[in-house]
Symmetry: C2
């Protein structure tokens, strides 16, 4: 086994450290954030930090670096209070990765990267047509994290669009059916293979594998 101590970690060459630290927290969600500014110009940016924050109310968190390409996303979210979260699948992964280039603010990454803007009547931020799972989100809170000048963005999910067939009877949404990918480090894209769903853990009960469609014994 290789072991790095604090001094060795801080002494690593910058690009090596970025790739290492981005790997070792585990697999990440793979999403495109769709926004538009007050004038209606669209923007699209890849985020691997989208994280479930709570179900009641349905809240989602993500982290943004204010001084990178993501600043257009943050600025638009602050201006309009709205954004979309769009799952990245295999057929669009390279286009999604390309949104991370430093596109000028007057260029929409939709057109530049070959992805299609899609609008619902009910929501003014742009969705990505190529995604199979899409969320409309309303900004709730922004927290500046002074420790490293990142920003925690918390939003409430106000719209969910997904294939009817991906919804199991107990509410579980089958991401594999929607070809949702996962990311590791800064540049590695992975598909997944389900091992099992497990029963709700109890101290006095043996764990069971449960069917994909839900835990029938529990209901």
């Amino acid at each position: 086994m290789k072991k790095f101590n604090e001094k060795e970690i801080l002494g690593l060459e910058k690009s090596y450290r970025i790739k290492l630290i981005n790997s070792i927290t585990g697999f990440k969600s793979a999403n495109l954030i769709g926004t538009s500014n007050k004038e209606g110009q669209s923007n699209l940016a890849i985020f691997s930090s989208v994280t479930h924050l709570g179900s009641s109310p349905p809240l989602v968190a993500m982290f943004s670096r204010p001084h990178t390409v993501a600043r257009h996303t943050l600025k638009n979210i602050q201006e309009t209070g709205l954004y979309t979260i769009n799952h990245i699948n295999e057929s669009m992964a390279k286009k999604a990765h390309l949104t991370s280039a430093r596109w000028p603010i007057e260029v929409s990454e939709f057109g530049a990267c070959g992805l299609t803007e899609d609008y619902e009547e009910s929501f003014s931020a742009p969705y990505v047509k190529e995604s199979l799972i899409k969320l409309g989100v309303e900004l709730k809170e922004i927290h500046d994290l002074s420790i490293n000048q990142t920003v925690l963005i918390i939003g409430q999910i106000v719209e969910i669009i997904c294939p009817e067939t991906s919804l199991m009877t107990d509410g579980f949404c089958d991401l594999e059916q929607c070809q949702t990918l996962t990311i590791s480090s800064c540049d590695s894209y992975h598909k997944t293979e389900r091992l099992f769903r497990l029963s709700y853990a109890k101290t006095n009960k043996k764990l069971r594998e449960v069917p994909l469609e839900g835990d029938l014994e529990e209901n």
Copy 2:
């Protein structure tokens, strides 16, 4: 496609909504958090919210619900300022899931779930022997998120332990070699299959797939 609006989302039956909202933010990291209290009693809890926050300094974020089983973890982190992050792999996934049961505070989930405490001389929080990638973390900040009474825990990675062979020449750590899993919703465990690593995205350059060991052209 199925579409839920805000009213429909808020009106969903509670357990259905929990499984749905936990699914639709995408795949999550799969980690066990190891802690001990001031008296040295160990605790182990599964977290799927561990997220990369920055590389300089190397920071990691996670969210905790203060009023669930995770409260033992939070309390220990507040008491000692230290915790470990241990990747969940296939051979230990069921034991890892079992840590989410409501074990009494005097019971260590290590023993109750059949996992092995492991200590480094340099660090007083317990590691999980069965994990192949392990991080020693020092608490930096705790933010109470009043919006839903969760807590954001930010720590600095001060120790990294991983197989020598999993480290590529550019710092990328190959999680698949370490059998690290990913989680969807509350109870589904997945292994992964790499599609590709991609070159650093630039507006004036075609994206390339790069070898697992790193982008040789860029160096």
